[in-house]
């Protein structure tokens, strides 16, 4: 059960659903590679392709947002799309920073680091949680709701 819903989590879910609707499938995957992040995909099912396979191998990423610094890192195209999507969760003032406030710049830098860390963690480990959940469901169907007791697997 969920007790600690954050605005960011809600936004991520919403963005994911919008991506699915845009791509016309809930199980999107690049038809040429294994990329499955909706933010990095374009086209409509079944003709879905990722930005890297479209030729955008490396793109320049404005690390703190275009309005906050000129610092640009070259990163893979798909990661750039995923990161840009995460910037959608930032407050508009921080992202746009029209007056150039140094505090908002600092906030943008922190948010960028957090986004990067999030991106690294999720893109590296994202598949693990759904796989465990699927396995749990499978075992529950096969062995009953307390399957770990049935097979003598101690959870402590």
């Amino acid at each position: 059960m969920n007790y600690e819903e954050t605005e960011a989590a809600r936004n991520r879910r919403t963005r994911l659903e919008q991506g699915y609707r845009r791509l016309g499938t809930r199980q999107p995957q690049c038809s040429r590679c294994l990329e499955s992040d909706p933010a990095a995909l374009t086209g409509v099912h079944p003709n879905i392709v990722c930005y890297e396979c479209l030729g955008h191998r490396i793109e320049g990423d404005h690390f703190d947002g275009r309005a906050n610094s000129d610092l640009v890192f070259p990163i893979p195209g798909n990661d750039h799309r995923a990161r840009s999507a995460l910037q959608g969760d930032w407050p508009v003032e921080t992202l746009r920073n029209p007056e150039g406030s140094p505090l908002l710049r600092a906030a943008a830098a922190i948010r960028s680091w957090l986004d990067f860390l999030w991106l690294i963690i999720t893109r590296a480990l994202r598949w693990v949680a759904p796989a465990l959940e699927k396995l749990d469901r499978l075992l529950e169907d096969r062995l009953g709701p307390k399957w770990w007791v049935t097979i003598g697997f101690e959870t402590t």
Partner: protein, 951 residues
């Protein structure tokens, strides 16, 4: 004896306007390629279940609600929401403390809408689940308007604003029957498509949402309306509904448990119904698209890869659809022997419409991509009709080879099915009438043959159109019936026949070992599928309400069209609309009934009533004469019980199914439940659809037979439990001469319950709602009470019907304020049923159950004539005859749009009646259609010529 004095000589025909169904010329259906490209993903893994608990006063405003959020079926979050203005501070404290202990969230109504309902339901495309969802949506709304969407199916729907955020959608609710509705999240107002697309990340449409009303779903899958508690018991859910004594009392932990349990029970019922539906294997139709039994039928057609006929046949002309609809009538219901006790035997055509469908091999038309037609020689059809006799009608070959014809006839004194306003009021009824002269009219060949075998004469055939099914649609798929392993090939098998046969043999030669409950469920699925496919879906026409009146283009049978005066309602054909199937199947049903009547008459017998597929044949154990007014001898002949099978067995050869036996069956009501022996059953029939079957006890007193008593004209009233049987027992008691005591509730006002499901019904509360906050107003889908003032008050200009907010206590109904349903001037009254001779300011005399009873027991059978040839009035008893009619003119109408039409007593204004499609006025001189401000003549020249000629 052909006709058996059905056609009476020396009766001067009455001139009556004849009504036929009109064809609203609709644009050809095209595939929406844009919509195809953005294909529907279906609901995501999220679902929101919610339920509202309301106050018990007239506003029925939200007090507290409960919800579950589930992900892939697993509980993700639970919580309560409340209206801060409806709860006291201590109640809110109770709520917070209870929620804390239960691990549930607490939020206001607006927070619930923004962070739960619209987040999971709209943004995440989750499934929104509830029990009577339309009521719940109305409770959480902050205002409503009349939808002006371009989407045809949602025109005139209620559009509920549920949040203050202008970037969030409204919820549109379009009532689709007494218990169901279509739901949709509508794009937020004032947001351009480009803006929406950008927000959504590109080329993506706003999600319309996915909704499942468990009450609607349960009714669709079981053909029965349920309360949540009863449904949970039926589905044997783990959690059951709790009981609460007083809904109006202060919020308590027990009440909050009750509310949360409702949510859980709703979810468990949903899961059980979902599992049942999954077992049917109808993968092409998701659960949220099941709204009625007809949806199940359509789901089977879709599963086979069939497309609706109007999608595939672009060449079938509009004038021929107009001809086809002109021949369409529903079931035949009539009383032949009125207000006279008659013993007899009830017989019934088993699966009448599917039988008619199978006999005429309608499956060929169902799967055909096109329907071809040709004019044929009218003289040869005339000779076919003139030579046909009952024996040929009882041959299956005639049904398969001859009946797919539509004929233009000139009535010459024939018993033809007729739709007219037979009575003093404007209600149109369908009856078999003796038609003489008048304008030619289109009929199915089956109806003309029925006229011939029943009345002995056939009308003159002026034109005949023969129809043929074209080649079948491509790429149809095999279908497995309800996951049973039985495969049906749409190219080889008649789908309807196979289903009927499977249904009759469940648990015998197939599906052996199936348990009783599963067999019942499967049998029920097959039944609703068969009925929907063979008839229901083919005549589906949806009525849309328009905020601004529109002119409707109506097709004439000569190929021209005309536009009606502007009106607020218009029909749109359903996706599986196939009027040819509908009219041929229904006409086939009437032909079967006419054949049975003729067989009874040939034996010298009579019947008391017929009701679409059933007939009550006058019969006693040994036969003989029984008293009956309206005949020269004062008696009619009753057949003997042994003679009745002579009638039913003649239908053996018409059985199109491989299960054998007659399609006309003797009903179980005729058998004693204790020993299975045939018993004497009696019938009392007042008018069509108003009859009761009964037996006599040892003292000769009537005992009403179970549910074999009509509820027609009564079902809308809120009497005490079991009151309809008590009503009929009392009616029969006094009609048969017993000193039967009046029921104790006869003095109470006769009050019905009405759900506010249209803008018109809500308009009566305009003044009541004025200056009240929205949450305290009478709102859409709230419950109302309705009653009818005494006829004297009505005739003196008083209100014709009164409505009041729902009140369950009969005593308090007398003291509450009642409003005029037809007016929004705000005048209100209390009601009374006593002191009829007094005038009391602020009080109005309304009809009591006794008043209703008095008019009900003598309800005229306007569509028949008594022995004197006059319309069967209040005092007419005994044998009735068809009315003799000369058509004065032909008018086109649509389907009856409102459920109240079934209760003529409450049909009080124009929105309750069938839609009229009147011809536009024409110039009195040259006949040119008038336009603009023209009233009598199209030009000054015509006016002058007309006046000159008149001089």
């Amino acid at each position: 004896m052909v006709g058996h004095d059905r056609i009476r000589d020396n009766v001067i025909p009455e001139e009556r306007e004849i009504f036929v169904r009109g064809w609203v010329v609709s644009p050809r259906l095209r595939r929406n390629r844009d919509r195809d490209r953005l294909r529907d993903l279906g609901p995501s893994e999220w679902s929101v279940v919610f339920d509202c608990e309301t106050t018990t006063d007239s506003s029925q405003r939200l007090r507290v609600g409960s919800y579950h959020v589930r992900h892939d079926g697993r509980l993700w979050e639970t919580g309560y929401f409340y209206d801060p203005d409806a709860l006291t501070a201590s109640e809110i404290l109770t709520l917070r403390n209870h929620a804390l202990g239960a691990g549930a969230k607490v939020m206001t109504r607006l927070e619930f809408v923004d962070t739960v309902l619209l987040h999971y339901g709209w943004e995440l495309s989750g499934l929104v689940i509830g029990f009577n969802l339309r009521f719940d949506f109305s409770r959480i709304a902050t205002r409503h308007t009349k939808s002006r969407t371009r989407l045809t199916s949602m025109r005139g729907a209620f559009s509920f604003t549920v949040t203050d955020d202008p970037t969030k959608p409204t919820i549109q609710v379009q009532p689709a029957g007494a218990k169901s509705a279509f739901y949709r999240f509508a794009a937020p107002a004032r947001r351009s498509a480009e803006q929406r697309n950008r927000d959504a990340g590109g080329d993506v449409a706003t999600s319309p949402g996915y909704f499942v009303d468990v009450a609607t779903l349960a009714k669709a899958l079981t053909s029965k309306a349920w309360r949540l508690g009863d449904l949970a018991a039926e589905l044997d859910t783990d959690t059951r509904k709790l009981a609460v004594d007083d809904f109006g009392a202060a919020i308590t932990p027990q009440f909050l448990d009750y509310a949360m349990t409702d949510c859980q029970v709703t979810w468990e019922c949903f899961e059980a119904l979902q599992n049942r539906y999954r077992g049917y294997g109808l993968t092409k139709t998701p659960l949220h698209q099941v709204f009625s039994e007809a949806s199940i039928g359509k789901a089977h057609l879709r599963q086979m890869g069939l497309q609706g006929w109007r999608h595939t046949d672009q060449a079938f002309p509009d004038w021929l659809i107009a001809v086809t609809l002109e021949t369409y009538y529903g079931g035949r219901t009539e009383t032949r022997i009125r207000r006279t006790a008659t013993p007899g035997v009830l017989v019934d055509f088993a699966s009448q419409y599917p039988t008619s469908y199978a006999l005429q091999d309608m499956w060929r038309y169902q799967i055909a991509a096109t329907v071809r037609w040709e004019d044929e020689d009218a003289a040869s059809v005339q000779s076919l009709i003139d030579s046909i006799d009952l024996d040929e009608v009882l041959e299956p070959e005639m049904w398969g080879d001859e009946l797919d014809r539509l004929v233009l006839v000139e009535p010459t004194g024939n018993l033809l099915v007729t739709r007219a306003a037979f009575g003093a009021d404007l209600t149109r009824n369908v009856a078999v009438a003796n038609r003489i002269g008048g304008a030619p009219q289109w009929y199915t060949l089956a109806d003309v043959i029925a006229a011939k075998i029943e009345g002995g004469t056939a009308p003159r055939i002026l034109r005949s159109i023969r129809l043929h099914p074209g080649p079948p649609q491509n790429h149809l798929r095999l279908i497995e019936v309800a996951g049973s392993g039985k495969i049906i090939d749409p190219y080889e098998d008649d789908f309807v026949s196979r289903l009927v046969e499977l249904r009759r043999t469940i648990g015998t030669d197939w599906h052996q070992g199936i348990d009783q409950e599963a067999a019942e469920q499967l049998g029920h699925l097959l039944k609703i599928t068969v009925n929907a496919v063979s008839y229901g879906t083919a005549i589906e026409q949806n009525v849309n309400e328009y905020a601004n009146p529109v002119q409707v283009a109506i097709g004439r049978t000569d190929g021209t069209t005309y536009k009606t005066p502007p009106q607020h309602r218009k029909e749109t054909p359903g996706a599986w609309f196939h009027p040819l199937i509908a009219t041929l199947v229904a006409a086939g049903g009437r032909l079967l009934l006419a054949a049975a009547m003729r067989l009874v008459h040939d034996l010298g017998g009579e019947y008391t009533f017929c009701d679409t597929d059933s007939l009550f044949i006058v019969a006693t154990q040994h036969g003989g004469n029984i008293p009956c007014a309206g005949t020269p001898t004062g008696t009619i002949k009753a057949l003997s019980w042994e003679q009745v099978p002579e009638v039913t067995e003649r239908f053996n050869q018409l059985n199109p199914f491989d299960t054998g036996g007659s399609i006309l069956e003797i009903e179980d009501e005729n058998l004693d439940p204790d020993d299975g022996q045939q018993r004497e059953v009696w019938c009392w029939s007042i008018a069509s659809k108003r009859y009761a079957l009964y037996t006599l006890d040892a003292d000769g007193r009537p005992v009403v037979l179970g549910d074999r008593r009509s509820e027609h004209g009564l079902g809308h009233l809120l009497g005490p439990p079991g009151w309809i049987t008590e009503w009929w027992t009392h009616l029969l008691g006094i009609e048969l001469g017993f000193d039967h005591p009046e029921p104790g509730w006869f003095d109470q006002p006769a009050i019905g319950r009405l759900t506010v499901s249209s803008h018109h019904e809500l308009a009566a509360f305009k003044t009541h709602n004025k200056d009240r906050p929205y949450t305290s107003q009478v709102r859409p889908f709230g419950f109302l009470l309705i009653t009818q003032p005494d006829p004297f008050d009505t005739s003196s200009g008083g209100p014709r019907s009164l409505v009041a907010p729902y009140e369950s206590d009969p005593d308090r109904r007398l003291s509450q304020q009642w409003l005029d349903r037809g007016s929004d001037d705000g005048a209100s009254w209390t009601i009374r049923t006593d002191r009829p001779d007094e005038h009391i300011d602020g009080s109005i005399l309304v009809a009591s159950y006794r008043d209703y009873f008095t008019s009900y027991r003598a309800h005229p059978e306007s569509k028949a004539a008594g022995a004197n040839g006059e319309r069967a009035g209040l005092r007419t008893r005994g044998l009735l005859h068809p009315r003799t009619i000369r058509a004065k003119g032909l008018s086109r109408i649509g389907k009856e749009a409102n459920r109240l039409s079934e209760n003529p007593e409450l049909v009080l204004d124009k929105t309750d009646r069938a839609i009229d499609y009147p011809e536009p006025p024409v110039c009195e001189h040259c006949g040119t259609q008038l336009v603009g401000r023209q009233r009598q003549w199209c030009s000054d020249k015509c006016r002058k010529r007309h006046q000159r000629e008149a001089r």
